[in-house]
């Protein structure tokens, strides 16, 4: 299926630019390695084991790459190329491909169509005077091939750049001390108020929860009393009052106790009448 003429040409061809194909093929360019054996020429016989073709396929990055290969292998300038011949060669190739890896063939089929189109356009009679006005149908393809080859080389250049972990290594030294000091965001009190008023607005807490009924001092005292009771068995009732706070303080503490009892957070214990009163945090 692959033309023997082009194959023998491939063999003789000097690689125009060995660099372009330095990877993955060398100048004697094994086409693929099948079961340890280098395949440097496309097999002439019709039967190519499907696995082998897959490997060949993997050597190319797509239809442009394959076409570039055909052109370079034949050491020809594309403008001199017999588009008919290369189209035939190309079509043979993709026919083989279609048998084993259909989804890959799609990109190649597009290229086949482009080649066929160029071929037809070349067959149309044209006046020599039109040459400069009408674009050569091959020109677009050449542009694409050039553009592709450019980036194919650029990719090789990028691959050669000194790379961290391959050509150079990040230097580091151990740090034996590491207190992970953490710095915290700052909060201003008006941010807090703003957040709170947002909650109020949303939940309409005034109506459903009647928060305003309790002065803050009472709620704070509730926290303090709970704090005192935590982890202790009994605390004497009198021990909770700080008399230096005066009457107001006593009232606040008393209200807090009432509130705590109401919310069943604490229990009051008095073993006998007129005995001292003790408070205890509720246990389950």
């Amino acid at each position: 299926m692959i033309e023997s003429e082009s194959l023998s040409r491939q063999k003789q061809a000097n690689v125009t630019d060995s660099r372009a194909y330095s990877q993955p093929q060398q100048s004697e360019m094994p086409f693929a390695v099948i079961q340890g054996e280098a395949l440097s020429v496309m097999p002439k016989d019709l039967y190519i084991p499907p696995r082998a073709l897959e490997i060949i396929l993997e050597a190319f990055e797509g239809p442009l790459d394959l076409l570039l290969y055909f052109i370079k292998r034949q050491n020809l300038d594309i403008l001199d190329i017999d588009v008919a011949a290369i189209t035939r060669q190309y079509m043979n190739y993709i026919q083989l491909m279609r048998e084993i890896q259909l989804e890959l063939a799609a990109d190649y089929l597009v290229m086949a169509a482009i080649l066929a189109e160029i071929k037809t356009q070349m067959l149309l009679p044209r006046h020599s005077s039109d040459f400069y006005e009408e674009e050569d149908p091959r020109l677009e393809l050449i542009k694409r091939l050039q553009e592709y080859e450019r980036f194919k080389r650029a990719a090789e250049d990028v691959d050669k750049l000194p790379r961290l972990g391959r050509d150079t290594y990040q230097a580091r030294a151990e740090v034996t001390y590491r207190d992970n000091r953490k710095s915290y965001p700052e909060v201003k009190i008006n941010q807090l108020l703003d957040a709170f008023s947002g909650v109020l607005k949303r939940a309409e807490m005034f109506k459903s929860h009647q928060v305003s009924a309790e002065a803050l001092s009472v709620r704070e005292r509730m926290s303090h009393i709970l704090d005192k009771l935590v982890g202790k068995t009994f605390v004497r009732f009198e021990g909770l009052f700080a008399f230096h706070e005066g009457k107001a303080g006593v009232v606040v503490t008393f209200l807090a106790l009432m509130e705590l009892i109401k919310e069943s957070l604490i229990d009051i214990v008095q073993t006998e009448p007129f005995d001292s009163i003790h408070l205890v945090a509720k246990k389950s």
Partner: protein, 202 residues
């Protein structure tokens, strides 16, 4: 092999390895035919050690070999490399804190009831880590949920002598009534929407 190259290889290896290297692992860097004798390796190590004097790092002998270490007396500066940039607190965090401040002591469930959305454990943990809130007890209901209250550090941070120095609710209420648009505008959309949605479906 020339001694300077040997030294460079060893120096480079110490810096690249990120772990201590002993003489065996240093020898393994060289192929048999070029491998320097051990005393030459040790000489190179000594030279490297000497060259670090007055530098920001030193070659230190540890149990499993030698390694480069950053000088300990540079710690106050070097540690700033890992200082976390303070981020801003989320609206959810500020609202939770505000609720605990004004309604303490209360449980997570209480907060959720008012805010209409779940309170993430992260928020509670962050507030505890900052020592602004603490568990002061447990409510005597199934599950015995923790009761949270603000701490002295909270008051200190906000420069308050006592909780009653927080603006009273009435003031906040009038603030809300006074400027409803700006208040609403200051919300980041998400949560308001959530609450509204849940109301609709109720």
């Amino acid at each position: 092999m020339n001694p300077q190259l040997i030294r460079q290889i060893i120096e480079g290896a110490f810096l690249a390895a990120a772990k201590p290297l002993d003489t065996l692992s240093l020898e393994a860097l060289f192929e048999a035919h070029e491998r320097p004798p051990r005393d030459q390796i040790l000489a190179a190590i000594e030279e490297i050690e000497d060259d670090c004097r007055d530098r920001g790092y030193e070659l230190k002998r540890v149990a499993s070999g030698w390694r480069f270490q950053v000088n300990q007396d540079l710690a106050p500066w070097i540690c700033r490399l890992w200082e976390e940039k303070p981020k801003r607190y989320s609206r959810a965090m500020l609202e939770t804190l505000a609720l605990i401040a004004y309604r303490q002591p209360l449980t997570r469930g209480d907060i959720e009831l008012v805010r209409g959305v779940a309170v993430s454990t992260d928020i509670i943990r962050a507030l505890q880590e900052r020592n602004w809130i603490a568990v002061v007890g447990h409510r005597d209901v199934p599950g015995r949920p923790a009761l949270y209250a603000t701490t002295k550090f909270f008051l200190d941070y906000f420069n308050l002598a006592a909780l009653q120095d927080l603006p009273p609710l009435e003031e906040i209420k009038s603030l809300v009534d006074f400027a409803p648009e700006t208040m609403l505008a200051s919300h980041d959309g998400g949560e308001v929407g959530e609450v509204n949605d849940s109301n609709k479906h109720d």
